[in-house]
Symmetry: C2
Subunit: 223 residues, 2 copies
DNA sequence: GATAGTTTCATACAACTGTTTGAATTGCAA
DNA sequence: TTGCAATTCAAACAGTTGTATGAAACTATC
């Protein structure tokens, strides 16, 4: 493993091509052509095409999860083991949204790759996502500590909806821009994060102390 | 076009196989074997594989959209042209969720196919989904009438979040079940719909008449 | 500078894919 | 029945795919 040059070139080319054209129509031959390496190099260095894709996704995934946990830990330490729910949710969806959205022309290859991975769901990536549950459980724990009065079911639904809004906004950012004729500014990432956190917080706190009678009545009627 | 038997058999077999095994690893040969027809029949009756998939998806899609508009129209007529926001949202997400969720063992082939189409996003289906914007605009209109005080931006975000929660819950229903160890009952469709509608309604009405000061402060702090 | 281990390379492989072809069959109308 | 169009069929096509092979080139160690 002298210089890793080939390996690195393959990873870079693959990430860029997948980001630009999707998993569906990028072949190993496209990748090695772009990376200026031999076709057999992919199988030599990664074992298979799927393992190459998996490595790309795992790398970015780990980075996001580390950032999530860093934010969560910092918040809990500051609060003596308990963080406000909106800060927890911010740690949950912030890194993901920050990693994918932002002005399109200055979006990194990694960002565009993660968007693509979010839109097209290929088997190797699905397999990795399925192992994400343990990671999410850490947030469930933090949310339980933050909202001791809420039942587990409500915690899980809140978490589900928070992730829903974040991921769907990433997946369908183009459609939302078109539908709103540009009125929804998806380049203002912090604003998007704030919106998601705000709604998820409401979902998790509705009907308790934070919301007065009229809103509670509405929430009840809506069911 | 004597009996349409072949055509129908292909559609049924394709829908079932795609639902069970996904678009990725079902070939035309699998389909024609299951349908007991000749390989060339697919191209003869549908033109191409993609057009077969498109026809499957369009059929179910039209049914869902018709049901959505039926509910919306009924609600607006009853309210003299204006429907309560939670009823509008119910019309938006109800048919989709009802069409995909419910007890797994009694889930129709159509339901499982639509879940699959929601998870794996293949080109012919993506193309159709992109034409869905006109349909969504009708809901934007209804929401504007229902919430004349809200800005367009807020309407669009509310709509986006409502669809986000509905679609993500469908896509990740298995993961939510596993994460919550079965505590989140995804078979109780009406409960799921009520949760989505409730949160989306809060997202669209927060900070106005329905929410008192403490909640507004919280929503502000969260940003 | 010989050797052992790693990496690269051209090439072939083997299988599968959606699609097409042209002949055979069927069903219906005249 | 005859004729004509619609449908079915077996077979082949043309192209692509990821992967494997074995020799060649390189690299670092002794």
């Amino acid at each position: 493993m002298a210089s890793d040059h080939t390996r690195t070139a393959i990873l870079a080319a693959a990430e860029r091509l997948y980001a630009d054209r999707g998993f569906g129509d990028v072949t190993l031959r496209d990748i090695v052509a772009d990376a200026n390496v031999n076709l057999a190099a992919v199988n030599y260095h990664f074992g298979s095409k799927d393992e190459l894709i998996a490595e790309l996704f795992v790398t970015r995934s780990i980075a996001t999860n580390r950032e999530r946990l860093r934010e969560l830990k910092a918040a809990e330490e500051q609060g003596g083991g308990i963080a406000p729910i909106e800060v927890i949710l911010h740690a949950l969806v912030g890194p993901t949204l920050r990693g994918c959205l932002g002005p399109e022309n200055q979006r990194s290859t990694a960002a565009r790759f993660m968007i693509r991975a979010s839109i097209e769901s290929v088997p190797p990536i699905r397999r990795i996502k399925n192992r994400e549950i343990d990671h999410l459980r850490k947030f469930v724990g933090a949310m339980r500590r933050s909202l001791p009065d809420r039942s587990d079911v409500e915690i899980y639904w809140g978490l589900n909806f928070a992730l829903a809004m974040a991921h769907h906004t990433i997946r369908e950012s183009e459609r939302l821009t078109k539908l709103s004729e540009g009125k929804c500014d998806l380049d203002d990432v912090e604003d998007v994060i704030a919106r998601v956190v705000s709604v998820a917080t409401m979902a998790l706190t509705a009907g308790k102390v934070e919301m007065k009678a009229p809103a509670r009545a509405l929430a009840r009627d809506a069911r």
